[in-house]
């Protein structure tokens, strides 16, 4: 008998009688306004909120705030004027010196300021993790209240890889002192568009 057969046989013998799945949960109404909550939580976890009405404002902000940065890349065609061209389709290791990556999120979640980003929006999976600083654009209208709403939105969408990203990379492993920028981005700017 292979280990697979052995494990499955033992599970079958030892698993208890049927237990039903509970009812699905949904967002409890009456909480804070989602956009306000998103902004509050993101700031608390070390992210920065920038409210904009169009992509020109984002381009302007980037030129102003990141003018001393050498390598800026983006997956957004609207930002080609302020970012590197032809960076795509390279070995992911080569993005190690990217100072700022600007990508788009499908939506954000108010209760934890997490942004849902799938592989197609990253261009390459390594991008939002390997860059020194990360900026994400999300429509104000696409902020949902809780993770229950988030998974309703995801539904049975097809992706190879997707991640909820909430704030900059961080650690508190040394005496519980919070330090931003463990392995991934040292900062996270969220452009709330609309």
């Amino acid at each position: 008998m292979t280990s697979r057969e052995e494990i499955l046989a033992k599970v079958k013998t030892n698993q208890p009688g049927p237990r039903p799945l509970p009812a699905d949960l949904s967002t409890v109404p009456g909480g804070m306004d989602s956009l306000t909550q998103f902004k509050t939580v993101l700031t608390t976890i070390g992210g920065a909120v920038v409210e904009v009405t169009n992509f020109e404002e984002i381009a302007q902000y980037i030129q102003q705030e990141f003018k001393d940065k050498k390598r800026l890349i983006s997956t957004l065609p609207e930002l080609t004027s302020v970012t590197e061209s032809g960076w795509e389709n390279k070995d992911p290791h080569s993005y190690e010196d990217v100072d700022l990556a600007i990508i788009k999120a499908h939506f954000g979640v108010a209760e934890n300021a997490a942004l849902w980003i799938t592989e197609d929006l990253m261009h390459q999976r390594a991008v939002p993790f390997i860059c020194q600083q990360l900026a994400v654009v999300v429509n104000k209208a696409d902020i949902v209240a809780t993770m229950h709403d988030a998974y309703s939105k995801i539904g049975d969408a097809e992706y190879g890889f997707g991640s909820f990203i909430a704030g900059p990379s961080k650690t508190a492993d040394i005496e519980q002192s919070l330090v931003l920028g463990a392995h991934g981005p040292k900062s996270m700017t969220v452009f709330l568009l609309g």
């Binding site: 280990s3 697979r4 052995e6 494990i7 499955l8 033992k10 599970v11 013998t13 030892n14 698993q15 208890p16 009688g17 049927p18 237990r19 039903p20 799945l21 509970p22 699905d24 949960l25 409890v28 976890i45 992911p92 290791h93 190690e96 934890n112 997490a114 999976r125 390594a126 993790f129 390997i130 809780t146 993770m147 229950h148 988030a150 998974y151 995801i154 049975d156 992706y159 190879g160 890889f161 997707g162 991640s163 909820f164 990203i165 909430a166 900059p168 990379s169 961080k170 650690t171 508190a172 492993d173 040394i174 005496e175 519980q176 002192s177 330090v179 920028g181 463990a182 392995h183 991934g184």
Partner: protein, 459 residues
Amino acid sequence: MSTGAKDHAQLSDIFNKDEARVDWHDETLWFVRAKRDKAAHSLPEWETLRETASQIKDNVLSNLHEYLLQFEANAEKNGIKVHWAANGEEHNKIVHSILKENGVNRIVKSKSMLTEECHLNDYLHKNDIEVIDTDLGERIVQLAEEPPSHIVLPCIHKKKEEIGELFHKHLGTLEGASDPVYLTAAARDHLREKFITRKAAITGVNFAVAETGEFVVCTNEGNADMGAHLADVHIACMGIEKLLPLRKHLSVFLRILTRSATGQPITTYSSHFKKPRPGQTMHIVLVDNGRTTQLGRKDFRNSLKCIRCAACMNTCPVYRRSGGHSYHTAIAGPIGSILAPNLDMKNYADLPFASTLCGSCSNVCPVKINIHEQLYKWRQVIVKEGYADPKKALAMKAMDFTLSNPTIYKFAGKAGRFVLKHAPFTVNNKLNLWYKHREMPEPPKQSFGEWYKQNNKND
């Protein structure tokens, strides 16, 4: 972890020698527990979430056979290679063979308590494969040649000055430097080089979804993602109990996991791996290592619902004051004490006794495992099976004899009161374990029985 023949009490004695450090350890973990409370209380639906999570896990355990088959089929359809390991040794061999096939002898690994349980690092080291733990806390204990002392906060027992010394020795930071920002920046540089150069990455798995064949890995540092997305080979190791039936169930678990662990609303990264990226190979190793046996133990199978948040450790008055290493097992604290005896009842017979049975662990558990009741039940099993500490077993027998015989009981009470009054030195000494850290009580003049008899007569 090998600790010779020392049990929890003896190992706690070592930790308790430095009283100031015990206080610091206690306060630090209580601080984390308080953050958990704040996060939990901020959600009016918290108890509904706990109940729902608990019921989903009950369903998983009752239908595990089907879910495993479904997960395997879907993961393979997604292009992931699925392996099955009956025990830790087979798990280690599978990982080693994948690395050998790919000609890899240096790897990065993000946090996985399962690989700690299986002693993977030791095994690979013996086979000339270098493993770099990339979670900062795990890297620190790895440099110190120690096991993690906590499943979420691996080096919670270490002071920043000690970490500074370690980094000075191994990473060349300035002598005497202990600023966490400075030390973290040094670790970032040190580990970036590893991420960039290693061809294979191992990660753990927080949740795996039967419906879709995907698995989710949660980190704050981003180390699992840095490892996996830069490596040609990604190996994810998971216990068979990590499954969830449907993708939407992740919403419940991602809401409770980090709130229970550190009080954060969610980890920075909750990454869903469904398919390997083009050119990459992805493996999942499904590990039993005693889990199917635990599944068959009616009183203890609930322990398999654990999502490894460590809330039970942070709240435990014994864990906070004895330190993770005193549990001499990969998973310390209350949950570790009900998991370990399943693997080796003799070696871990001491652990279910390392508790006051106060029940705080069960109260904070996000999936409602009845931890303290299981601790109590394990004690009974261990005594029945003859694995109890012989001193304890003898004392229990003496108590049984005394308490079931009224004449002896009355005499023993009298003798005790006499000794406490007239010869206190016979009990106020090191041979009496109760005297340690305590003053013996003032002896009462008479027992309740004597008092009752006297007062009843007067009526």
